[in-house]
Symmetry: D3
Subunit: 267 residues, 6 copies
């Protein structure tokens, strides 16, 4: 299924998140059964060449790929699409103008300004054309700052924007709170996340969110989020290793919140 | 011969185009007899580290190297030059101000703002200095949009700009046409290409153009273009493989226009 | 189709040959329509890490992959299989014992000695097991020396050996002739190649051969070879570039035999 | 703690296992609290250059590194040691002569034949010398075949051999059983593993074993194994991802034994 | 010692400079005894993936790392910090607004706008948090242009800016002088450098400077600079090789100023 | 000049030695004026893919390249030659049979058994053929063990062997001495080195030797060695950095013999 088909389908999708720069771990992530996988070029330890190799690896599987670009910059977006990403997640979107720029970088004219050169994007796509590609590609803006919250409705109203992806850590941090992906239910931080959700529902865009545990992911799903990341590869690896080690040693595993040993608990 | 010497010479030059991220294929491209080779960091699957390796590989040969940068950004241009590119092709130039910025990124003061640090650029260049480098480097702006067409004469009048490189696909696409490198002779799309050529001749800058076949390249040469790319490495590979396969199987090769299996037919 | 299915099918297969170390050119080769593609770790400029990336790239397509290993060594064979190769081409096989060692490195016990660790090999293979893998993998020995010719029948009789791949250049060179892939029809060199073909037919193994042109490939097919490489990627690239350049310049292309500018005319 | 200090200490050590070719996942593995981490160059998707980068990454942490070499070959062993491995695991050792060769490749004269060139090995080691290095390095032979079982006592008696690492999959497979890391308690396969353990105890070498689950690791520890791998990075990732996905989807996770989707369940 | 501790300490620090894209040479640079090492992504031949590997390599040692980013762009700064840089050197700062933007990219809210995702930055840092990180990170602006000189005091007054790093080559070049790191004592070029030093002392920021020889470094130290680079790795290599070669051949070494053979004499 | 021309010339040649895995430092080494440069795949941190890139980098310059292979194995030798090495240094040669095997791996039939596939070797070589290549390539055996000393004359008499390269560290170590490249003049260790020199002179092969300082290099030259390495890149870097740091800090540099901080003082 393509990202577009998943979005058209309207169901809840659960995604994998790649922060480890490796085409092999990307292929594994693509085979685990996630609905989609995102290659994180913002906070993951991933540059362009690794990202391109990871997009190739994900193409082996049927799992469609997002790229979170490092910044809202046309060439980052276009190069990720050319290399085979179906969707683009743009961090730190704070205004409708920024959201519009992101959408335009994703779409070929007349809908946008994407330059023609689908070096990998067209491979294996029947009848690839500007129209086909514009329908196929999806774009999500991250709302994760004070200004992003303030301009939420304008951002969500930008034509061609498919989804909002909430970055709970930055959302909290920019509001003077502790950067965490799993704030307390009922807390002000949780409230901000739910406000974005309500905005998405009000404006008819897909609400997405980053989490760092099954519990939080379930809570987000139950609240109405439709596009949910459970944990990054680095975090999954840490969770499994810590738990296995503790079990074999007969200890209690260190709580997942001890971020100082992994740094993977972000977004 | 350096790019500058080729330009001073004034003849028609035929170039190779690298979209495959490999220092070995780049070396081969440098040895095939092209007048110059371009490393395409915009639509090619090439990041900075591969580009640097490819520029080293091209230095083995006597064939001078262009880099098409991903975007009109000073650091992209300066890093490509530092790594050994003699020429810079800048995509999507739409105004004289943008063209001026491109030129200034290519030139050391007082002509521009290039920062000093010719880590590979100075290697093997007798008496390398800001003056020597400023004379040696060449810069081409791509005209491939509606605004680019509109501001053609202002762009072409920017001091220090050596050439215009036409991207026929984007030029067509931004004018509501099908993105192709080989529009029909006599078509409106072809007319746009010839308009840019006329502009170049009127303004005394070298007219360059991207093509995807020998036939189109010959037509462009006959029309007066001086800097002509025949096909990218990916396209050459596809053409040769398809034709060989078909011949051995006793079939007719698939027409080159079937872009869905290669995506290489861009620019 | 897997290599095994192609072999069971019994028809003539036409293969692509990768000497360029790039996962992108490998993916392209996998999409051009070849029946199979071989990653050449012997004479190609390809080490293990590039080979692994290229095997991933070929997995995107439906084209099955051979690896020609650098030498008849168990770990080279096993690592190539673990990384996803379906078939192994072993150079310079001169005795039945060497052929047997090659087969044993390809097969899990009890048929061979392959160590269990199918890190990529098992991915996506329904019910992967030693039996499934042993049926799935194919192995070809190269006969390309005087001793290989002498021991042909013993080599071809080794149980589990699927094919013989003739390396015409080395075959000629070791017999005191010029190393070429396209010897004159009727020449002694050509005679050696046909002797191996006859041996294959006599012993019931698939006859394969490396070529460097459509003409030679057709001649080999007509003679009865079943597994035929047309040209390597490097050679295809050179042929297409030379011909395009010559056409645009109005010249006659340099003859393909001028190996001093490419070195790709090997095997 | 160095591997030698861990061995001198005599306690049970729990190890991490790297099959993913990435210096970042290797650093993470080094920070999770394992007593040691092994970079698997035999079945992991890891070549020399990635291994060297991973050994650098492990040096950031205090966790000492093993390398499992692809084969019992002097240059593989010496290059791994030069690059910073403290210990070498040699697969498929079947005779005392092979074990002796492995030990000699690990040790400088007069104990062995290691060539002097500790390019990274000496970095940060106070008073690095042949004597210091010979004391510091450890070597483990894998017993995992019929002949290895038969020659167990001779192998274990080789001077300088520190440990035996059991590869349960190959051990089973070479004995006509299903290749699994977790055979049934009380089964013939389990019996073979315990026979090697008894041999180690009889001969005074450290017994080590590869496992793919906490349960099996605990069983091995309780039986007396002292050097135990819980799961590879790939397997940890799969386990955590499958379990998280199933939990969020409200499903039961697929059983770990479904190796067809990961191939990581080896050794 | 962290960069912050070095700055708090207030003494003169001598730094190493990496232009060679290699994690091994970076590790060596980190072990030679420099107070800090800078990975130069502006003029060094270093892209993001090499930089990340080099930051890992420097983490093996106790030597803290700077990254000179290619340009004053938030994502360059944030990605370098996430990958483990403690300090950021920003080239070509010309206004207080630019300096403020640089500082804000380095600092988490409320001091800045850095996005949360310390993938490597938090590894091994006790109690990593926005506050801890904001205290830990340091930022230096380069003053190396006419406008930078003019706006010196405003730039230096930007809250959170720790240091000024003078780029003598660009400083000279933008003032119409020859780009050199070692201008004549008493020259106008030298005067510009000393003006920046005086500005730093007046405004209470750490004065830093790039040099290409011991002599110049000593002169800078004696003048009052506190953060001094002696030579880049490329320049050190050239100096040592030239001198060794000349000595063995009984010649006088070529003077270090012959930049045409190395290009390393920049900044 | 090719290596063969240098050898025919008969003069003393001074070589550079690459242990740092980087195509950029290799290019620099190729531009410093050494008569030749060796890429060390035995003890350098260099695998095949880096070596291939470094051989490309050296081709930019006129400096011919040796590769020291990890072991006396045909595929290592053939792949290094195919990638562009002109000369091969084979470590740990102890018998005439081993030397003969090394020579045969370097030479095409009828002189040897090298397989035909000069993927880079033929590039740019006028009229490349087996004969041309066999004349062009050179091969050196290392004598550095007790058995190597004992069989010196037989080794040196092997037809086609061009040179002996002494590894003083291993030579000492295998004779029960401290592994050093600069033994005391008049010592037993020095005596061994001079014995090999005498053997070379007696048998008419070029005497070569590895050193770690100008002083030792001069002593070797004066003694009659014709092929002399001064220091590796890593050692040059360390020497220059230590001396610069000490000078700027007003200290005495640490003596070069403190190998624990670099590990580069090998061979």
């Amino acid at each position: 299924m393509t990202l577009r088909e998943l979005f058209d389908d309207g169901g809840v999708t659960i995604g994998g998140w790649c922060a480890i720069p490796s085409a092999f771990s990307a292929e594994l992530m693509g085979r685990f059964g996630f609905d989609w996988v995102c290659v994180d070029m913002q906070h993951g330890l991933i540059g362009y060449e690794q990202a391109a190799a990871m997009l190739q690896a994900l193409s082996i599987t049927d799992t469609p790929a997002w790229v979170r670009v490092p910044w809202n910059q046309p060439d980052y977006i276009m190069k990720a699409l050319d290399a085979g990403a179906q969707g683009i997640i743009v961090p730190m979107v704070e205004t409708a103008a920024q959201a519009r720029s992101a959408v335009e970088s994703v779409k070929y004219p007349p809908a946008g300004v994407r330059s023609w050169g689908p070096i990998r994007a067209s491979l294996g796509v029947e009848g690839y054309s500007p129209e086909v590609a514009n329908k196929r590609t999806v774009v999500a803006a991250m709302i994760e700052t004070v200004d992003g919250m303030k301009n939420m409705d304008e951002i969500m109203s930008v034509s061609g924007l498919d989804a909002i992806y909430v970055g709970p850590s930055d959302l909290g941090l920019t509001h003077g709170m502790v950067p965490t992906l799993s704030p307390e239910p009922g807390s002000a931080h949780e409230g901000l996340i739910l406000e974005v959700l309500a905005g998405c529902q009000r404006n008819g865009v897909v609400p997405g969110v980053h989490t760092d545990s099954v519990e939080t992911a379930l809570r987000r799903r139950d609240a109405g989020f439709k596009m949910i990341t459970v944990m990054s590869d680095a975090l999954l690896l840490r969770a499994a290793a810590s738990s296995a080690l503790a079990a074999v040693r007969g200890q209690t595993p260190a709580p997942a919140a001890t971020t100082s040993t992994s740094g993977s608990s972000y977004a």
